[in-house]
């Protein structure tokens, strides 16, 4: 359908106002919200992800696209709830204790939302207990830990240990990311996965969700 292709292109180009108008027109035309979400918004963000992966798109442009996606999603959300549409999965994400950096975490959240996942973002400087409480409250399938500093990356292990200590480790998969961390570090601290960037984080989450579904 041409209009859905147009919508995906508007999302990719970060044209919030035009995307919003078209989304409303598509809703008014009676098209199911799930179709608009999948073939318009998610399709547009998939192109954004691909361009990021190839180095053809950078953070400022991605934020523009995310802004367009969020504006259109706000129209669809109540309708999706009415239609009883389930998200592809719930991801809890936060930057670990002592670390105030949030750009990487936010980018991962944007790309996951753009791929149809539900995000619970507990913010920056989140101590291990905050992760534990949030897991107990929101029951996510996957937990993402972010750290940008070599000193704070050590708090990822403390957080994983606290999740295990609370008896919640088997209920979630844990993925880590951030400038100083690596797959080797993920293995050492007992994380289930590592992602180098936001695009790969979406791949990793999909991989884990496919295994659990």
């Amino acid at each position: 359908m041409k209009e859905l292709l147009d919508l995906s292109q508007l999302i990719e180009q970060g044209q919030s106002q035009k995307a919003l108008t078209l989304t409303q027109q598509l809703v008014n035309s009676g098209l199911p919200s799930q179709t608009i979400l999948n073939d318009g918004l998610i399709a547009g963000m998939a192109v954004v992800g691909e361009k990021m992966r190839n180095g053809d798109m950078y953070l400022p442009e991605v934020l523009q696209s995310a802004g367009a996606m969020k504006a259109s999603l706000a129209i669809l959300k109540p309708l999706l709830a009415l239609e009883g549409t389930k998200s592809r999965g719930k991801i809890l994400i936060g930057t670990v204790k002592g670390d105030m950096h949030d750009i990487g975490k936010n980018l991962v959240s944007i790309m996951l939302q753009g791929a149809g996942f539900e995000i619970v973002d507990i913010g920056c400087n989140a101590d291990p207990q905050r992760f534990v409480s949030a897991i107990a409250e929101h029951a996510p399938e996957i937990v993402g830990l972010s750290a940008m500093l070599t000193t704070t990356m050590l708090n990822m292990k403390t957080t994983i240990d606290a999740i295990a200590g609370a008896g919640l480790r088997s209920k979630v998969k844990i993925i880590i990311g951030g400038a100083p961390v690596s797959q080797k570090f993920a293995d050492e601290i007992g994380a289930d996965g590592y992602s180098r960037d936001a695009v790969l984080a979406v791949d990793k989450v999909k991989q884990f969700m496919d295994r659990t579904s």
């Binding site: 970060g14 180095g55 798109m57 950078y58 953070l59 400022p60 442009e61 934020l63 523009q64 802004g67 204790k97 002592g98 670390d99 105030m100 950096h101 949030d102 750009i103 936010n106 920056c124 400087n125 500093l149 070599t150 000193t151 704070t152 990356m153 050590l154 400038a179 100083p180 961390v181 690596s182 080797k184 570090f185 050492e188």
Partner: protein
């Protein structure tokens, strides 16, 4: 005077490859204090720098712990400090941005390096260190780059949005940031210090070369030229991440020493830096220095030194050492440096 670093920066062969580990919060560990305590106390910061020199023997010392916060704090941003035994690194509170885009740039406070925030504290420390070590090794001030400072003032995501929605405003904000940095840097230069410009928020992992070229490059070039005019011959530009794709732009800034971070392509850096006759600092990935054996660190250092391929402008560095990195790790690096001098 230890001229090892200066020689490498001039691409003349020093007696061995210079070593510049990235020691910021870890400085505090040398004297058994927390980063928050040390960065707010000139006596402790002086003591920590002297301890760093004594124990690590780097080929230059850089003043500062939380190097990206000082200018922003002096303008009005709030820094979160941690009390008690919490060894977290002080950071700008995200909600404390001082410029949202609706106000005029001229409304921002131009800080006085002698009066505002911790600028005078760092200048006092520079004075102290210059007295004791100024004739032994280069002492350098850590300065924010214009884009990183602007990111603190308005929030990184907001700055990215403004790049598209209000580019003229971003130009104005970057001009303001550059002026702040010039004045702060000038105050150190008057004490006889050198300067290092840190601008990791403008890394190619975040910004496209196109945006860098339009917004960041002109200010950075002007800033470096300004410091050259003030008599600082060597101005390093430190931008973390895999910056290989933007190396041409970085070299165009006029910095004579750029950072080749652990994930960057060292072959490309060797090729382009030698053609441009510039030095570069190759960072070892030291994130696992806390767990590796001395022997493994020694071998890893040798591997890293081999990457220099005999280039005289090669400097060995590390990514920022985590607070509490054991001395045995740094001893292993130094012993590899001594033994292998010019692999």
């Amino acid at each position: 005077m230890n001229r090892r670093l200066e020689q490498a920066l001039e691409c003349e062969r020093p007696d061995r490859i210079p070593f510049l580990p990235a020691i910021y919060e870890h400085k505090a560990w040398f004297i058994g204090e927390t980063p928050s305590a040390v960065c707010r106390d000139p006596h402790l910061l002086t003591k920590a720098l002297l301890a760093e020199y004594e124990r690590v023997q780097p080929d230059a010392l850089t003043i500062g712990i939380d190097v990206y916060n000082v200018e922003a704090e002096a303008i009005g941003c709030k820094v979160i400090y941690y009390e008690g035994e919490n060894t977290s690194v002080p950071a700008i509170a995200p909600e404390s941005v001082v410029f949202r885009g609706s106000e005029e740039v001229v409304s921002l406070k131009m800080p006085d390096p002698q009066k505002d925030g911790r600028m005078p504290l760092n200048l006092e420390v520079a004075r102290n260190i210059m007295k004791v070590l100024g004739k032994e090794i280069p002492i350098r001030a850590a300065l924010s780059g214009p884009f990183s400072l602007a990111a603190h003032l308005t929030g990184l995501e907001n700055l990215f949005m403004l790049v598209f929605t209000r580019p003229n405003l971003v130009h104005e904000l970057l001009d303001f940031a550059s002026e702040v940095i010039k004045r702060y840097g000038q105050a150190f230069i008057e004490l006889g210090c050198g300067v290092v410009v840190f601008d990791s928020q403008s890394s190619t992992e975040l910004l496209s070369p196109l945006v860098y070229r339009e917004f960041v490059l002109p200010r950075t070039r002007e800033l470096i030229e300004y410091f050259h005019q003030q008599g600082v011959r060597n101005v390093p530009l430190i931008i973390g991440g895999n910056t290989t794709k933007m190396l041409d732009e970085y070299l165009e800034t006029g910095a004579n020493n750029v950072l080749c971070d652990a994930r960057a392509d060292v072959t490309e850096f060797l090729h382009k830096c030698s053609a441009a006759r510039r030095a570069f600092r190759r960072n070892m990935d030291s994130t696992d220095f806390l767990t590796l054996s001395s022997e493994d660190i020694y071998h890893r250092t040798v591997d890293c030194l081999k990457e220099s391929n005999g280039y005289p402008g090669f400097i060995l560095g590390t990514v920022i050492l985590p607070y509490g990195t054991p001395m045995t790790a740094l001893d292993a690096v130094r012993s590899a440096l001594q033994e292998y001098k010019h692999l």
